[in-house]
Amino acid sequence: MTIPAEYMLILSAVLFFIGVFGFFTRRNLVSLLICTELMLNAVDINFAVFNAYCHPDRLEGYIFSLFGIGVAAAETAVAIAIIINVYRNVHSIHIKRLKNLKH
């Protein structure tokens, strides 16, 4: 028996918006990063699902999600690096401490 596509899409959507919610609510830069990862993964799921269910004849979706994962990793790397940099300067990675630049 197969799981209907809608469920997958709903899963991905839920995942995506959990990511969004987390991004809006968490106070720690790393957890913000994790939330963005969640969002990106939701996207990857989407691509895979669409490929598998709607357009099984070609592989674009899968490939896209592969690339997505790769790019996400790269982004994470850069982000972590910058977060470390922030920690060096601020001795904290709490979002509230990053308000030098405003108005």
Binding site: F16, G19, F23, L29, L32, L33, T36, M39, L40, A42, V43, N46, F47, F50, N51, C54, H55, R58, E60, G61, I63, F64, F67, G68, V71, A74, E75, V78, A79, A81, I82, I83, N85, V86, R88, N89, V90, L98, N100, L101, K102
Partner: protein, 473 residues
């Protein structure tokens, strides 16, 4: 599949070569060679501009994933030239103690963003586009955070990277639905299959937010001011001109190549965002004290004006857009070069009041700054006037009269805050005067180029003519 295709994408390949050369040179060069480093990069980027322009033929590669034609080549050339200017201005900053040892990294990162933009422009497949965008924005984040001993730089960096990730996530989400409805990622096929159903509208909006983030249109602009202010001035310049320009070009291409069936929809989106960008940015800019932050808002409203050219979606629109970006580039570059020199001298962020009585101490720089500001404000006989006029013309021709009117009213506000700086420089008297600013030779060269551009780009219609003759996408 034949690997010759790779060498057909001449600009990218030559860019990569330069990229590798610099990489290696960075590793091996010491002492005297080290001192040759910067000139070398300048020359090579300039060279790149011309290399890019060599092949203006229209062709597609990789089964239509990659396309190149005269217009795209010209856009790339503009970006490359902008990079050249940036490198010129970066000179002194790169020599400074905190950055000299990572000079090479700067070049490499800079060029990799350029590669990304090149692909953004040439991509005819969402995968390639996505990679291009990421390639353009990730190194950019590193550049923004380049001054690693400065709090603001790091803060700007993190804000940039996080919001860009957020943006690209949204964009990808949108793209995924497009893929779901059409089953392809090639622009051509997709536009054939798009029907404009709600889910595709959703996708369109999501995609638009992703690009709108890079163009920094309201309401996707919030990161701009902070990142501009925090980033090293040279990077800010690059950010405000090159990556913005690349994003605008990309948006135009994608809207025409993919979303043609949904023209009325995206015109609506642009309509809203344009009004929002111009108005809000103008209001914000009026009260800014830090020049870099101020320039951020000015660049947001400028982006709004560029959108006036995009909204028509016509060939005239494209011409006006490219021309506008070019003109905007020279003006902005000039201003940032001057800001950079001042900061270098006084070792602190430049505020508007810092510029008080700037004329007594540095008449020439003031004049250049004035011309650049006038050009941004769209005052004849400087290039900015022409670009603005053409943009308005194309939007008006496309029938967006009210939009043009609102934009025109906004020009008065923008004139007001540009004049505030002019006023500070000429009329206000300073409590402690600025020293006579000594810019580096490279900066002077770039300034000279910019001024030439500001004055000549408008008066010599040939530039516009060339752009106009590039033909369609």
């Amino acid at each position: 599949m034949n690997y010759i295709q790779f060498f057909a994408m001449r600009p990218e390949v030559s860019l990569l070569c330069i990229y590798l050369v610099i990489f290696v040179y960075d590793l091996i060069s010491t002492g005297h060679l080290r001192r040759m480093f910067h000139p070398l990069v300048c020359i090579s980027t300039l060279l790149l501009t011309f290399l890019t322009l060599t092949d203006t033929s229209t062709f597609t590669l990789f089964g239509g994933m990659y396309e190149s034609n005269a217009a795209i080549v010209f856009m790339k050339a503009i970006l490359a030239f902008g990079t050249f200017l940036t490198v010129l201005q970066a000179n002194r900053w790169l020599r400074s103690a905190n950055t000299s040892y990572k000079q090479g990294e700067f070049y490499v990162l800079l060029l990799s963003t350029l590669v990304g933009m090149y692909f953004m422009l040439s991509a005819r497949h969402f995968l390639l586009l996505f990679i291009g965008i990421e390639l353009a924005s990730l190194p950019m984040a590193c550049l923004v955070a380049f001054d690693k001993y400065r709090h603001n730089s790091a803060e700007a960096g993190i804000k940039y990277i996080l919001s860009s990730m957020f943006a690209s996530a949204l964009m990808l989400y949108g793209i995924s639905f497009l893929y779901g409805t059409t089953g392809t990622l090639y622009f051509g096929d997709m536009s054939a299959l798009i029907t404009g159903q709600p889910i595709e509208i959703f996708a369109l909006v999501m995609f638009f937010t992703g690009i709108g983030f890079k163009i920094s249109l309201v309401p996707f602009h919030m990161w701009t001011a902070d990142s501009y202010q925090g980033a090293p001035t040279t990077v800010t310049a690059y950010l405000s001109v090159i990556s913005k320009g690349a994003a605008v070009f990309t948006l135009f291409i994608v809207l025409l190549k993919v979303f043609l069936p949904m023209t009325s929809e995206w015109q609506m989106i642009i309509y809203i965002t344009t009004i929002a960008s111009i108005t809000l940015a103008n209001l914000m800019a009026m009260k800014q004290q830090f020049i870099k932050r101020f320039m951020a808002f000015s660049s947001i409203s400028q982006a709004g004006y560029i959108m006036l050219a995009v909204i028509g979606g016509s060939t005239d629109g494209m011409t006006a857009m490219i021309y506008y970006v070019l003109v905007y580039m020279v003006a902005n570059m000039a201003i940032f070069a001057i800001i950079e020199s001042i900061e270098w001298q006084i070792r602190r962020a430049v505020k508007r009041d810092t510029l008080n009585g700037f004329y007594e101490s540095n008449p020439k720089l003031t004049l250049i700054m004035t011309l650049a500001l006038f050009s941004l404000a769209g005052i004849p006989p400087f290039a900015g006037f022409f670009s603005k006029f053409f943009v308005f013309m194309s939007a008006f021709g496309a029938g967006f009269k009210v939009l043009v009117f609102i934009a025109l009213i906004n020009t008065v506000i923008s004139l007001y805050y540009y004049l505030l700086i002019v006023k500070a420089m000429y009329i206000k008297s300073a409590e402690q005067k600025l020293p006579a600013i000594k810019s580096s030779r490279y900066t002077l060269v770039s300034l000279a180029i910019c001024i030439a551009g500001i004055i000549l780009l408008g008066i010599c219609s040939s530039v516009y003519g060339t752009i106009g003759n590039l033909g369609n996408l």
